[in-house]
């Protein structure tokens, strides 16, 4: 029998540090089923039979955020053999609030008071003995960051799991509240496991939605519980949940007053407060933020990232791997098509994506530093005002900024956003921001049709940002994104030096999950696309074709071209160009070059501009550009969306939304542009006006009544 030990605690309590030191690199990171919440488990070092389950950091077991529901369901349904409740010793009162709830679950539990080094440095004295007596479970000291006591605590947890000793805390409630809970206990005692009695009774009293919808209690029992709750609410003049919450805090305040000797007066300026007096200062905050963001961007995208990516793409793959593979395959007389498949399709396709890996590692390293150090929460604090106007979180800035380099790490950076609806929205809109690979398209259109006008590139960014804002406003009005209302209450954790081990593990895990995907999804799509563009129908059979124009991809392009005709670029070449952008956006330019038979097309070359200008008008080129900027991103980004959304349905919706949005915008640009140019009305003009009207309606309509209440509170 394996022993399962759950790690539970508040965010920023040092849970990840403890988890990392207990499991080392023997971790499995995934997602909890159906939600975007990360799931981590690992084997305890030196104990093959002990599994450590890291629960998401939560403040409470209330049923409102995905993290809380996930943690609750795991604790109540899967019942770990023991809980290690990790508590931040510098912030005891709020941390013990979760503790009082965990104690009710009837699971063997011990409390690890973390950050003891800081507590001592501050001069506070915590009476462990007193805490342990009142809470009815073992309490130990810990300095996870310095690895003091981690394994000792794990050993104690194993013993506890074997002994099955359930906590016996001093009674939490008193007076009428206690009587009410006892009454509820009495009516459910026959149909409830004894160890779950306290938890279930309190949840029934609170009218807990999740428990009520999935429990098997008879209606009479539920009605009776509700009646008891209502009576108590009237008597004590507050709602049931607030009564319980207040009782828990009263209990904790008393306990802490007894067991803790504070060296500093309440509300004293801490070291973090002093840093914050500069970092979140009214005047300095934004300039400091700009400098930090510039550094992150500069280091990860421009300098180190660019240099390493260039090297990987051009030298490692371009000059070393591909030619040598080609040569050695040729030496064995391998068929030319197979050489092409391996060198162009597989190595070329995957290689172009793998080229981003070093850049991504650098970026994730920077992000982990910001997150671990405590600056990420300050970003949300500084930018909240701007971003919440269109339904995003202050933390959405980072994915967007990173997304201007490459959407893939941008989308992955959305993980730092706590709220699921904000996170989904950010995942969906990040790739609207033009990434580095879209630059060649912009350069081509600007050069060939607008005489290299300076305003084309800024326009592209403007369109991207506007698309994000419009999408935010539109989507936030739908129930799926309005989500469970949760106010912006964000802890500003104390700054601390990041632990190299945590940074390394966080960077490695994010980077590696990308590499894994490159090896699967991206590999497969690269092979399929290579096949489509290398083979074609000739004389009724499939053959390898010499020219792309005869390929299957071109055939598909011819079929799909009419779809793009209303946007002004209904040629099969432009269609295939757009499709090839799904492999990587920079392919669009190269593909167009091949299909239009331009002599040698290079990204920076200008000799083909005249030819290109013959094929497009200024208007259709603009429409083509904007469609390619906004539509579904490359496969690498799609794969990332799938991973981060953790749901096929949401991924499909996201891609459909982006493409539909791009279509509508391009349609309007081309049709209304044509109208202004004096080309008269046609059916598509009306369609364009209709879609524009729908867009405007979605933009200005009032959200459904129940969401409005939330908006009023958070947007006024």
């Amino acid at each position: 029998m394996k022993i399962h030990i759950a790690l539970a605690g508040n965010p920023n309590s040092g849970k990840t540090t403890l988890f990392n030191s207990l499991t080392g690199s023997a971790q499995y990171v995934g997602n909890w089923p159906g939600v975007t919440v990360e799931k981590k488990e690992g084997m305890l070092k030196g104990h093959r039979d002990v599994i450590i389950q890291d629960l998401p950091g939560i403040y409470s077991l209330s049923p409102y955020t995905q993290e809380e529901i996930v943690a609750r369901n795991y604790l109540v349904d899967d019942r770990p053999d023991a809980i290690i409740n990790i508590v931040d010793g510098t912030n005891l009162e709020r941390n013990l609030y979760l503790t009082t709830q965990l104690l009710e679950l009837g699971i063997p539990m011990l409390i690890a008071i973390n950050m003891m080094d800081l507590v001592r440095k501050r001069g506070d004295v915590i009476d462990i003995q007193k805490l342990s007596e009142s809470l009815g479970c073992p309490v130990f000291e810990l300095s996870a960051l310095k690895s003091e006591g981690s394994f000792f605590i794990a050993e104690k947890a194993i013993l506890l799991a074997r002994s099955k000793a359930v906590p016996t805390p001093a009674p939490l409630l008193s007076g009428p509240l206690e009587e009410s809970i006892d009454k509820i206990k009495n009516i459910i005692t026959d149909c409830t496991e004894e160890r779950l009695l306290p938890w279930t009774a309190i949840k029934l009293f609170e009218g807990d939605e999740v428990l009520l919808t999935c429990s098997s209690f008879a209606d009479e029992v539920l009605d009776e519980a509700e009646r008891i709750a209502e009576k108590t609410e009237k008597l004590l003049d507050d709602d049931a949940q607030s009564l319980i919450t207040a009782a828990r805090y009263t209990y904790i305040t008393e306990l802490v007053n007894h067991a803790v000797d504070r060296a500093l007066p309440l509300h004293a300026m801490t070291f973090s407060d002093r840093i914050d007096s500069i970092v979140t200062h009214r005047i300095f905050a934004l300039p400091i933020f700009a400098v930090v963001m510039f550094l992150v961007y500069f280091v990860s995208v421009t300098t180190v990232g660019h240099f390493v990516t260039e090297f990987t793409n051009e030298t490692l793959f371009g000059e070393w791997i591909v030619p040598s593979v080609k040569n050695s395959l040729a030496a064995y007389d391998v068929a030319p098509w197979l050489i092409s498949l391996i060198s162009q399709g597989i190595i070329g396709g995957v290689g172009s994506v793998l080229g981003f890996v070093p850049q991504m590692f650098v970026l994730f390293l920077m992000l982990s530093l910001l997150e671990e150090g405590g600056y990420m929460a300050r970003i949300a604090f500084i930018l909240d005002r701007i971003f919440r106007r269109f339904g995003l979180s202050g933390k959405s800035f980072i994915p967007m900024l990173i997304g201007s380099g490459c959407s893939v790490p941008g989308i992955m950076a959305s993980r730092t956003i706590e709220q699921e609806s904000d996170r989904r929205m950010t995942i969906m809109t990040t790739s609207f921001i033009p990434c580095g690979a879209k630059m060649p398209i912009i350069a081509l259109i600007a050069g060939a049709l607008f005489g290299g006008a300076w305003w084309v590139a800024p326009l592209a960014y403007f369109v991207g940002v506007t698309a994000v804002i419009i999408s935010g406003i539109i989507l936030k009005k739908f129930r799926a994104f309005g989500g469970i209302p949760s106010p912006f209450v964000l802890e500003l954790p104390p700054y601390h030096w990041p632990s190299p081990k945590n940074i390394w593990l966080a960077t490695w895990e994010r980077g590696f999950s990308f590499v894994k995907r490159a090896g699967t999804v991206i590999l497969l799509t690269s092979i399929i696309l290579w096949f489509l563009q290398a083979f074609g129908f000739e004389d009724g059979a499939i053959h390898l074709v010499d020219h792309n124009a005869d390929s299957l991809l071109a055939s598909i392009g011819r079929v799909a071209a009419p779809f793009f005709a209303p946007l002004g670029f209904g040629t099969w070449q432009a269609t295939v160009g757009t499709f090839s952008g799904l492999i990587a956006k920079e392919n669009v330019v190269g593909t167009l070059g091949v299909l239009y038979n331009f002599s040698e097309v290079t990204e920076g070359g200008t000799q083909h501009w005249n030819q290109f200008a013959n094929e497009f008008s200024a208007l259709s080129a603009l429409s083509f550009l904007i469609f390619n900027l906004l539509c579904a991103p490359c496969f690498a980004a799609m794969g990332t969306i799938r991973k981060e959304m953790n749901s096929g349905r949401w991924t499909f919706f996201a891609l459909l939304y982006m493409t539909a949005f791009a279509y509508v915008v391009s349609l309007n640009i081309y049709q209304i542009g044509s109208l202004i140019k004096g080309e008269g009305f046609n059916v598509w003009t009306f369609v364009a006006f209709f879609t524009l009207a729908v867009l405007l309606y979605l933009l200005i309509r009032k959200p459904p009544a129940d969401l409005q209440k939330v908006r009023k509170r958070s947007h006024a």
Binding site: N91, R385, P487
Partner: protein
């Protein structure tokens, strides 16, 4: 009714009552803002919202509109 929203920077107040209902109220209370707790208003964000408060020995930020349902003495 005086609420947390009206408290000037640098002042310390005691919470009298939390208004509102449902998840919003629960979230605020989960974070330790309960009747009788002492709250110190530290600062406002550079753009005027949200605000940073200090309570129970830690720093919390919340929007002014959510602060408006926290009645204080």
């Amino acid at each position: 009714m005086k609420t947390l929203k009206d408290v000037r920077i640098g002042q310390t107040v005691e919470v009298k009552k939390i208004h509102g209902e449902g998840p919003l109220k629960r979230r605020i209370m989960d974070m330790g803002i309960t009747k009788g707790v002492s709250i110190h208003v530290r600062k406002y964000a550079p753009l005027g919202d949200p605000m940073e408060i200090n309570l129970r020995g830690y720093a919390l930020s919340l929007r002014k509109n959510d602060a408006a349902c926290i009645e204080v003495y």
